[in-house]
Protein backbone atom coordinates (compact mmCIF):
# COMPACT_ATOMS: atom_id res chain seq x y z
CA UNK A 1 0.00 0.00 0.00
CA UNK A 2 1.46 3.36 -1.00
CA UNK A 3 0.35 6.57 0.55
CA UNK A 4 1.58 9.43 2.67
CA UNK A 5 0.12 7.80 5.75
CA UNK A 6 1.98 4.50 5.21
CA UNK A 7 4.77 5.29 7.66
CA UNK A 8 5.78 1.78 8.71
CA UNK A 9 9.52 1.36 8.18
CA UNK A 10 10.23 4.95 7.18
CA UNK A 11 13.28 6.56 8.70
CA UNK A 12 14.29 9.94 9.95
CA UNK A 13 11.50 10.91 12.35
CA UNK A 14 13.59 10.90 15.51
CA UNK A 15 12.89 9.51 18.97
CA UNK A 16 9.54 8.66 20.45
CA UNK A 17 8.55 11.16 23.15
CA UNK A 18 6.30 9.68 25.79
CA UNK A 19 3.67 11.55 27.80
CA UNK A 20 1.92 10.79 31.12
CA UNK A 21 -1.13 8.60 30.92
CA UNK A 22 -3.42 10.98 32.77
CA UNK A 23 -2.84 13.71 30.19
CA UNK A 24 -5.94 13.56 28.02
CA UNK A 25 -6.08 16.89 26.22
CA UNK A 26 -3.35 19.41 25.50
CA UNK A 27 -5.71 22.33 24.96
CA UNK A 28 -9.40 22.99 25.42
CA UNK A 29 -10.00 23.07 21.68
CA UNK A 30 -8.79 19.44 21.49
CA UNK A 31 -11.76 18.46 23.66
CA UNK A 32 -14.23 20.17 21.34
CA UNK A 33 -12.65 18.76 18.15
CA UNK A 34 -12.62 15.20 19.53
CA UNK A 35 -16.28 15.49 20.49
CA UNK A 36 -17.20 16.97 17.10
CA UNK A 37 -15.41 14.15 15.25
CA UNK A 38 -17.29 11.52 17.27
CA UNK A 39 -20.67 13.28 17.08
CA UNK A 40 -20.48 14.24 13.42
CA UNK A 41 -19.38 10.73 12.53
CA UNK A 42 -22.53 9.47 14.21
CA UNK A 43 -24.65 11.42 11.73
CA UNK A 44 -23.29 9.01 9.11
CA UNK A 45 -22.98 11.86 6.67
CA UNK A 46 -19.25 12.37 7.28
CA UNK A 47 -16.23 10.20 8.11
CA UNK A 48 -12.61 10.85 8.93
CA UNK A 49 -11.72 9.78 5.40
Amino acid sequence: MNGAQDLGGMMGFGPVRSEPEDLRFHADWERRVMAMVVATGATQRWTID
Binding site: M1, L7, V16, R17, E21, M34, M36, V38
Partner: protein
Protein backbone atom coordinates in the same frame (compact mmCIF):
# COMPACT_ATOMS: atom_id res chain seq x y z
CA UNK B 1 -3.49 41.75 -1.12
CA UNK B 2 -3.49 44.68 1.27
CA UNK B 3 -0.24 46.37 2.13
CA UNK B 4 -0.45 45.19 5.74
CA UNK B 5 0.50 41.48 5.73
CA UNK B 6 1.35 41.39 9.40
CA UNK B 7 -2.12 40.14 10.41
CA UNK B 8 -1.89 36.95 12.44
CA UNK B 9 -3.77 33.89 11.21
CA UNK B 10 -6.93 33.17 13.18
CA UNK B 11 -6.05 30.99 16.17
CA UNK B 12 -7.00 27.33 16.18
CA UNK B 13 -9.19 27.89 19.23
CA UNK B 14 -11.23 30.51 17.40
CA UNK B 15 -11.60 28.33 14.34
CA UNK B 16 -12.75 25.39 16.47
CA UNK B 17 -15.30 27.61 18.18
CA UNK B 18 -16.60 28.80 14.84
CA UNK B 19 -16.82 25.23 13.52
CA UNK B 20 -18.75 24.09 16.56
CA UNK B 21 -21.13 27.04 16.25
CA UNK B 22 -21.82 26.24 12.61
CA UNK B 23 -22.39 22.53 13.28
CA UNK B 24 -24.79 23.31 16.11
CA UNK B 25 -26.60 26.01 14.13
CA UNK B 26 -27.13 23.63 11.21
CA UNK B 27 -28.47 20.97 13.55
CA UNK B 28 -25.77 18.33 13.06
CA UNK B 29 -24.73 18.18 16.71
CA UNK B 30 -25.92 19.49 20.05
CA UNK B 31 -23.69 21.23 22.57
CA UNK B 32 -24.90 18.99 25.38
CA UNK B 33 -23.93 15.91 23.36
CA UNK B 34 -20.46 17.29 22.76
CA UNK B 35 -20.09 17.98 26.47
CA UNK B 36 -21.14 14.43 27.29
CA UNK B 37 -18.61 12.98 24.85
CA UNK B 38 -15.84 15.07 26.35
CA UNK B 39 -16.77 13.99 29.85
CA UNK B 40 -16.90 10.34 28.83
CA UNK B 41 -13.37 10.30 27.49
CA UNK B 42 -11.96 12.63 30.09
CA UNK B 43 -13.36 10.84 33.11
CA UNK B 44 -15.03 7.52 32.44
CA UNK B 45 -13.08 5.79 29.70
CA UNK B 46 -9.35 5.40 30.11
CA UNK B 47 -6.50 2.96 30.75
CA UNK B 48 -7.83 2.09 34.22
CA UNK B 49 -10.43 0.00 32.36
CA UNK B 50 -7.75 -2.09 30.70
CA UNK B 51 -5.85 -2.33 33.97
CA UNK B 52 -8.87 -4.03 35.52
CA UNK B 53 -8.96 -6.52 32.66
CA UNK B 54 -5.28 -7.33 33.12
CA UNK B 55 -5.55 -7.62 36.92
CA UNK B 56 -8.52 -9.95 36.55
CA UNK B 57 -6.54 -12.12 34.12
CA UNK B 58 -3.59 -12.24 36.55
CA UNK B 59 -5.79 -13.45 39.42
CA UNK B 60 -8.38 -15.63 37.68
CA UNK B 61 -7.02 -18.40 35.42
CA UNK B 62 -10.45 -19.02 33.86
CA UNK B 63 -10.79 -15.37 32.95
CA UNK B 64 -7.28 -15.39 31.52
CA UNK B 65 -8.14 -18.37 29.31
CA UNK B 66 -11.32 -16.66 28.17
CA UNK B 67 -9.50 -13.39 27.49
CA UNK B 68 -6.92 -15.09 25.31
CA UNK B 69 -9.56 -17.10 23.43
CA UNK B 70 -12.23 -14.41 23.01
CA UNK B 71 -11.01 -11.01 24.17
CA UNK B 72 -14.05 -9.18 22.79
CA UNK B 73 -16.41 -11.19 24.99
CA UNK B 74 -14.16 -11.31 28.06
CA UNK B 75 -13.51 -7.56 27.97
CA UNK B 76 -17.15 -6.91 27.15
CA UNK B 77 -18.24 -8.86 30.21
CA UNK B 78 -16.67 -6.12 32.34
CA UNK B 79 -18.68 -3.50 30.50
CA UNK B 80 -15.92 -2.25 28.24
CA UNK B 81 -17.51 -2.25 24.83
CA UNK B 82 -18.16 0.29 22.15
CA UNK B 83 -16.56 2.26 19.41
CA UNK B 84 -12.96 1.62 18.45
CA UNK B 85 -12.99 -1.64 20.39
CA UNK B 86 -15.58 -3.81 18.66
CA UNK B 87 -13.11 -6.59 17.89
CA UNK B 88 -10.41 -7.17 20.47
CA UNK B 89 -7.46 -9.53 20.62
CA UNK B 90 -5.46 -9.99 23.83
CA UNK B 91 -1.71 -10.61 23.57
CA UNK B 92 -0.01 -12.14 26.58
CA UNK B 93 3.61 -11.25 27.24
CA UNK B 94 5.90 -14.04 28.45
CA UNK B 95 9.62 -14.17 29.19
CA UNK B 96 10.03 -15.58 25.66
CA UNK B 97 7.78 -13.19 23.76
CA UNK B 98 7.05 -9.48 24.18
CA UNK B 99 4.22 -7.92 22.19
CA UNK B 100 4.22 -4.35 20.87
CA UNK B 101 1.17 -2.75 19.25
CA UNK B 102 1.20 0.02 16.66
CA UNK B 103 -1.01 1.45 13.94
CA UNK B 104 1.40 2.35 11.16
CA UNK B 105 -1.27 3.89 8.95
CA UNK B 106 -3.09 6.09 11.43
CA UNK B 107 -3.83 5.59 15.13
CA UNK B 108 -6.15 2.62 15.57
CA UNK B 109 -6.33 2.10 19.31
CA UNK B 110 -8.62 0.15 21.70
CA UNK B 111 -10.59 3.09 23.11
CA UNK B 112 -12.94 1.14 25.46
CA UNK B 113 -10.01 -0.26 27.45
CA UNK B 114 -7.34 2.39 27.01
CA UNK B 115 -9.26 5.61 26.29
CA UNK B 116 -7.85 8.17 23.90
CA UNK B 117 -4.48 7.40 22.30
CA UNK B 118 -1.49 9.45 23.43
CA UNK B 119 0.18 11.82 20.98
CA UNK B 120 3.25 9.60 20.62
CA UNK B 121 1.12 6.66 19.48
CA UNK B 122 -0.34 8.77 16.66
CA UNK B 123 2.92 10.37 15.60
CA UNK B 124 5.42 9.44 12.85
CA UNK B 125 8.34 8.48 15.12
CA UNK B 126 6.42 5.64 16.77
CA UNK B 127 4.43 4.57 13.74
CA UNK B 128 7.51 4.33 11.54
CA UNK B 129 10.01 2.81 13.99
CA UNK B 130 7.89 0.32 15.90
CA UNK B 131 7.97 -2.08 12.93
CA UNK B 132 11.53 -1.20 11.95
CA UNK B 133 13.36 -1.02 15.28
CA UNK B 134 11.15 -2.17 18.17
CA UNK B 135 14.07 -2.51 20.57
CA UNK B 136 15.08 1.07 19.80
CA UNK B 137 11.52 2.22 20.44
CA UNK B 138 11.45 0.35 23.75
CA UNK B 139 14.77 1.99 24.64
CA UNK B 140 13.09 5.39 24.09
CA UNK B 141 10.66 4.27 26.80
CA UNK B 142 13.51 3.15 29.04
CA UNK B 143 12.76 -0.52 28.53
CA UNK B 144 15.46 -3.08 27.80
CA UNK B 145 14.48 -6.69 27.26
CA UNK B 146 16.83 -9.69 27.35
CA UNK B 147 18.25 -10.53 23.94
CA UNK B 148 16.57 -13.92 24.23
CA UNK B 149 13.11 -12.34 24.36
CA UNK B 150 11.47 -12.27 20.96
CA UNK B 151 9.50 -9.11 20.11
CA UNK B 152 6.31 -9.45 18.10
CA UNK B 153 4.98 -6.22 16.59
CA UNK B 154 1.27 -6.09 15.78
CA UNK B 155 -0.17 -3.55 13.34
CA UNK B 156 -3.69 -2.58 14.38
CA UNK B 157 -6.36 -2.15 11.74
CA UNK B 158 -9.78 -0.60 11.44
CA UNK B 159 -11.19 -4.01 12.38
CA UNK B 160 -8.86 -5.45 15.05
CA UNK B 161 -7.60 -3.75 18.22
CA UNK B 162 -5.09 -5.22 20.63
CA UNK B 163 -4.65 -5.28 24.40
CA UNK B 164 -1.27 -6.42 25.67
CA UNK B 165 -1.30 -8.35 28.94
CA UNK B 166 2.01 -7.52 30.63
CA UNK B 167 3.85 -10.02 32.81
CA UNK B 168 2.66 -9.98 36.41
CA UNK B 169 5.43 -8.43 38.54
CA UNK B 170 7.17 -10.59 41.14
CA UNK B 171 6.34 -10.15 44.82
CA UNK B 172 2.60 -9.65 44.24
CA UNK B 173 1.35 -13.00 45.48
CA UNK B 174 -1.96 -12.66 47.32
CA UNK B 175 -2.57 -9.09 46.13
CA UNK B 176 -6.14 -7.99 45.47
CA UNK B 177 -7.34 -7.28 41.96
CA UNK B 178 -7.65 -3.61 42.86
CA UNK B 179 -4.07 -3.33 44.05
CA UNK B 180 -2.73 -5.29 41.08
CA UNK B 181 -4.54 -2.96 38.68
CA UNK B 182 -2.49 -0.07 40.03
CA UNK B 183 0.67 -1.73 38.73
CA UNK B 184 -0.67 -1.90 35.18
CA UNK B 185 0.38 1.18 33.23
CA UNK B 186 -1.15 2.44 29.99
CA UNK B 187 2.14 1.93 28.23
CA UNK B 188 2.41 -1.68 29.42
CA UNK B 189 -0.92 -2.46 27.75
CA UNK B 190 0.43 -1.21 24.43
CA UNK B 191 3.70 -3.07 24.95
CA UNK B 192 5.71 0.13 25.18
CA UNK B 193 6.31 -0.44 28.86
CA UNK B 194 6.26 -3.05 31.60
CA UNK B 195 4.01 -3.37 34.64
CA UNK B 196 5.30 -1.56 37.69
CA UNK B 197 7.32 -3.57 40.17
CA UNK B 198 6.28 -2.89 43.79
Amino acid sequence: MRADDSAQPVSIATRVQALEAVLVEKGYVQTASLDAIVETYERDVGPRNGARVVARAWIDPDYRTWLLADATAAIGSLGYTGRQGEHMVALENTPDTHHLVVCTLCSCYPWPVLGLPPVWYKSPPYRSRAVLDPRGVLADFGVTLPATTRIEVHDSTAEIRYLVVPIRPPGTEGWTEQDLAQLVTRDSMIGAGLALVP
